[in-house]
Amino acid sequence: MALRVSLGVIGLVLAVAFPAVAEPSEARRHQLRNMVEQDCGSCHGMTRKGGLGSPLLAEDLAKVSAEGLVETILEGRPGTPMPPWKSILSRDDAAWIVAYLLGEVK
């Protein structure tokens, strides 16, 4: 577990510094795109303008750090309905989602 976490941290560093290095496979990216649109969209809106959850538009997300967004996806926001997704998403997945929301990857 500890090994996985530290690998994950390295993955994050790589993902932030060199987004292409830790990029999930195309099949996984397809799943992640669908998840962002459909599952995240249930609370944040399919157009990402927000709902029960806050807006996820690139202009909103650009105000906070990418690392913080990765943490929020993995750990959730206690006291709010935003759950920790780490049982479903790896750190690489989360880093790719952040880059995707910021419009840095397609």
């Binding site: 669908n34 998840m35 649109e37 459909q38 599952d39 969209g41 249930s42 609370c43 809106g45 399919m46 157009t47 303008k49 927000g50 709902g51 029960l52 959730g76 006291g79 309905p81 759950p83 920790p84 997704w85 049982s87 479903i88």
Partner: protein, 389 residues
């Protein structure tokens, strides 16, 4: 494959022809195609599609209610759009963008008013059901002085609507007997973050689930002066909860006989509550975190669907024995279920399989399948005559 297409073509002919045979609306319904801002008009006697209606905006979270004659649907979209759909012609009869962001709505007992519950700006807006002209605008400024999101709206007898304020933890009842002068009765300090609410089909009990703490806020609508009471103080996340990947939906269809069936939050269980004492009487272990626990209209079965990642299965619970009698896999990402009026069939939307699947509720076998693009909510016209739906 050719049958639904033929049906659509046939329906088009029927709907277009001026000598179209007369038709009732009692077996009609809508299926939301959430990614395309479109709804399908369907009929549940032969399980076919009659029409496809585009142009409804962002339907990532959508709900619908029906006019009392079941001719028109009022569809509430995520983007604040309120769209009136003519079920017989398959056309849009009116549409307003009434807010920036909405969650659902209700139609008054007499069918004259449609109220929409909004997130941004928080509050309700009320419209004339015939014309969609605005009638009233009631901002939801909580006791803390801040605007709150509104959730869990339902109709009450008289021209009244009940709803909850998510951010400030309140329940409000708006009386529009005189639409020009809405009277609002407020119940404050009901608990933290009410996320959805249900009203029992008899219109007497309003239950708001609390996300921010364990328990349910309950209002006896026959005894408003008693105020809000708290029940099921252990209900909620409790100790060591699992992450909640999708907010559970409460709603009046989970009442089976003298029992209310509720999705547990953060646990793979459905709770059974005795409706006479409002205490928990059983828990049924299920395959994931329940999103909807819906009673078949006769109350003999409860069907449960689940949050991601367990949303490819649906479980059927036998109410008398409180046991799961079947686990079915109708398709990928089952988002919603809707029973026909008398419950002999249930329709399920399989979002990631791009289809709607119909099951016989006695044999628990699939009997029909309809292609649909990323389907979510299914709403049959039988809702027209039920309080809170």
């Amino acid at each position: 494959m050719s049958r639904p297409i033929l049906s659509v073509a046939l329906a088009g002919l029927l709907l277009a022809g001026c000598s179209a045979p007369l038709r009732g609306t009692g077996d009609l319904g809508l299926v939301v195609e959430r990614a395309d801002g479109r709804v399908m008009v369907v009929e549940n006697t032969g399980s076919t599609v009659l029409a496809s209606v585009p142009g409804l905006g962002d339907l990532s979270h959508a709900a619908a209610v029906y006019s009392r004659d079941a001719r028109h649907a009022f569809v509430f979209g995520r983007d604040g759009g309120l769209t009136k759909v003519d079920m017989l012609t398959g056309t849009i009869g009116g549409r307003v963008i009434q807010s920036g962001n909405s969650i659902g709505g209700a139609i008054s007992q007499d069918g004259s008013l449609v109220a929409v519950a909004n997130y941004t700006p928080g509050g309700i807006k009320v419209f004339d059901a015939k014309t969609l002209e605005p009638v009233a605008d009631i901002p939801a400024i909580g006791a803390d002085g801040k605007a709150s999101k509104v959730i869990g709206i339902a109709d009450l007898p008289g021209r009244r609507f009940i709803y909850s304020l998510y951010d400030s933890g309140e329940i409000w009842i708006a009386d529009l007997t005189d639409p020009a002068k809405p009277a609002v009765r407020k119940f404050t300090n009901i608990g933290k973050l009410p996320y959805d609410a249900l009203i029992t089909g008899d219109g007497r009990w309003y239950l708001a689930g609390l996300f921010g703490e364990d328990g349910i806020a309950m209002l006896d609508l026959w005894n408003l002066d008693k105020g809000v009471t708290r029940i099921l103080d252990h209900y909620g996340k409790g100790k060591e909860p699992l992450p909640v990947f999708k907010m559970p939906h409460l709603r009046g269809w989970a009442v089976a006989g003298n029992e209310v069936w509720l999705p547990a939050i953060g646990h793979h269980q459905v709770l059974v509550v005795d409706k006479t004492t409002w205490t928990e009487k059983a828990r049924v272990d299920v395959a994931g975190q329940p999103v909807f626990a819906m009673a078949r209209p006769d109350g003999r079965q409860v069907w449960v669907n689940f949050a991601v990642p367990n949303y490819n299965v649906v479980q059927v619970i036998d109410v008398p024995s409180k046991t799961v009698v079947k686990t079915i896999e109708p398709g990928k990402a089952i988002l919603h279920m809707e029973f026909t009026a008398k419950g002999e069939r249930v329709w399920l939307s399989a979002r990631d399989s791009d289809k709607v699947v119909v099951y016989d509720t006695e044999t628990l076998e699939q009997v029909a399948e309809l292609p649909a693009a990323k389907p979510s909510g299914i709403f049959f016209t039988s809702r027209a005559h039920r309080t809170g739906l």
